[in-house]
């Protein structure tokens, strides 16, 4: 494990991913960028706010080889709202990295299941695979959102599927009317979807990330289908 520490970072730039999601990219005020494993998270502490809010954890969405540490934040409440207001140059403490949501190099067949902004750590992991040109890595990503406009990183994800032949993405929209000319699923991830896409996949490890109800429901689907609990790895956005 890489030791965790508190370091001051400055917001370098902001990228709008969707009406509700911004990616904030930070650079250290001094010294080196933190070392982390793709899949880990950091605690963000907005030290410059007049009324300091307690720090919150955010998955790192950039890859370990990027020049910045980025987090992708969905606007929900007080803290995420305040993060959306940050302007370049703002100072924050990033405490971390933390978490063990890290696929091991021995795991050559991976199923990723992301609910909404739960895609963030997967983007980091996938970019890491691209960086290593991991052509032998098989990944099946189910990316679930309510509606089409909630999908973030679409362009980057498509680029990743082009760069790595082992990566496939199934977009699941749970509250969207079906459009005949579009690939993807218009339902929740369930046992039949697992069977349809994964039956030939063989032994694999499952990584799940999203809200507590999303991860709970999805892992129950897997367990019902007979997946061993040691093979199910989860990150909860509580």
């Amino acid at each position: 494990m890489i030791p965790s520490e508190d370091t001051i970072y400055r917001l370098d730039h902001v990228t709008r991913e969707s009406p509700e999601v911004l990616t904030l990219s930070f650079a250290p005020e001094a010294g080196e960028l933190m070392q982390f494993h793709a899949g880990q998270y950091v605690y963000v502490d907005m030290i410059e706010r007049p009324k300091r809010l307690p720090s919150r954890p955010y998955s790192i969405s950039s890859s370990p080889s990027d020049a910045f540490v980025s987090v992708s934040v969905k606007k929900l409440g007080a803290f995420s709202g305040a993060l959306h207001e940050l302007t370049p140059g703002s100072r924050v403490i990033l405490r971390g990295p933390a978490g063990n949501f890290i696929p091991q190099p021995s795991m050559k067949k991976l199923v990723f299941i992301a609910g909404g902004i739960g895609i963030a750590p997967f983007l980091s992991i996938l970019k890491g695979f691209v960086g290593r040109n991991a052509q032998d890595q098989e990944v099946l990503l189910f990316y679930s959102n309510k509606r089409r406009e909630d999908i973030v990183f679409f362009g980057e994800l498509q680029g990743i599927t082009q760069a790595l032949r082992g990566v496939r993405i199934v977009y699941c929209l749970t509250q969207q009317e079906e459009k005949a000319d579009e690939a993807g699923e218009y339902r929740r991830f369930d046992g039949s979807m697992l069977k349809q896409y994964c039956s030939k996949f063989g032994m694999q490890d499952y990584f799940l990330c999203g809200s507590v109800p999303f991860v709970t429901e999805t892992s129950q689907v897997l367990e019902h289908a007979g997946v061993l609990c040691q093979r199910i790895h989860a990150e909860l956005f509580y």
Binding site: V212, P213, Q230, I232, A234, Y238
Partner: protein, 346 residues
């Protein structure tokens, strides 16, 4: 009441007023600024408006009972539960909530079903203790300990929970010894790691509730983020660094986590650890049934035979406050069994 604002409210006043105000609130436990006679009349009148002291709450039970519950109304109208436990040895422990609702969604927990409404500020956590300190004052009694086992997961609100610990611990404030404060977590590993590095004398309690990953994951979503062995490795690091005994809570649920092999597995995990296991009778919230008394006795025996210190909280009389997630949301009073123990006694 936001205790961090008191300095601001007193701006322009002589410096010593702040110490006097704090003394009034936390030591003399005044409920009305008029009682702070050291303050000029005009200041008292101003503070009554700018920093009102009353705490709006409904209490269930009275201080003669072994447990008194209060529902405290916060400034935004949300209500939180807090419980005073009175022990036969004279200790008075307050069980505080750290969040309104809880995001962790444990299957056996009524609070978990509410999901998270919001986290509490440090002041709102301290307020719960202050409320009972005031209630006990006429008897010449004080709050001697605090356990973070009410609504919410303290490590999901880490900064505020720890800030509250520091406020409770303040010698010029409520002056509750760190050794008499316990934080109970459902198993947020990063929280435990950070807590380890704080070098505080505060006790740590872990809601384990199952020795195997499969059962634990069925009971607690957070268990999906780590294995029992990973959790115990982080706890071992805590023990190694702090040399403090850790309390493991184990709610006994019929047909779920009370089998013979689970007792043996639990004993094996706990053996040789600087720890203590607290077996708690499950207080049914509808989904599960409590384990029988015989099962609890069996677990106790197995643990004792393995040399693991163990306490048991049997279900007794009316409903019981047991562990995090076992606070009642029913609005009535209830009593604690006489053999109650709590984390503060670790």
């Amino acid at each position: 009441m936001d205790f961090t604002q008191i300095g601001e409210v007193l701006e322009g006043e002589p410096k010593y007023r702040l110490a006097q105000a704090k003394r009034g609130i936390f030591v003399d436990l005044v409920e009305d600024w008029e009682q702070v006679t050291a303050f000029p009349k005009a200041l008292r009148a101003r503070l009554a408006v700018d920093f009102p002291l009353p705490i709006e709450a409904q209490t269930f039970g009275d201080t003669k009972m072994t447990a008194v519950k209060a529902l405290i109304r916060l400034s935004d109208g949300k209500r939180i539960e807090t419980v005073l436990m009175r022990h036969t040895d004279g200790r008075n422990t307050v069980c505080v909530s750290s969040q309104v609702g809880c995001p962790m969604a444990c299957a056996f927990c009524a609070t978990g079903k509410m999901s998270l409404l919001r986290s509490l500020s440090a002041s709102e956590i301290v307020l719960q203790v202050l409320f009972f300190a005031r209630l006990l004052k006429p008897e010449g009694e004080r709050v001697s300990g605090v356990v973070f086992m009410g609504m919410g997961e303290p490590f999901a609100n880490y900064d505020n929970a720890l800030a509250a610990v520091r406020m409770l611990n303040d010698h010029d404030g409520l002056n509750i010894g760190a050794r008499h404060i316990s934080i109970s977590t459902c198993g947020i590993l990063e929280g435990i790691r950070r807590f380890t590095s704080e070098a505080l004398q505060v006790n740590l309690a872990i809601s384990l509730h199952a020795p195997d990953d499969k059962t634990r994951r069925e009971l607690m979503p957070v268990a999906r983020t780590h294995t029992v062995l990973e959790l115990l490795a982080v706890v071992d690091e805590y023990i190694a660094q702090t040399k403090r005994k850790v309390m493991f809570e184990y709610l006994m649920i019929g047909g779920k986590n009370d089998a013979d092999e689970q007792a043996h597995a639990l004993a094996k995990l706990m053996q040789g650890k600087l720890c203590m296991v607290n077996l708690i009778a499950y207080n049914s919230t509808g989904v599960f049934v409590p384990a029988t008394r015989e099962r609890m006795v069996f677990f106790k025996t197995v643990l004792e035979q393995a040399g693991v210190p163990v306490t048991v909280r049997f279900r007794h009389g009316r409903e019981v406050k047991g562990a995090c997630g076992q606070l009642l949301t029913k609005e009535d009073a209830y009593v604690l069994p006489s053999d109650v123990t709590d984390a503060a006694s670790v």
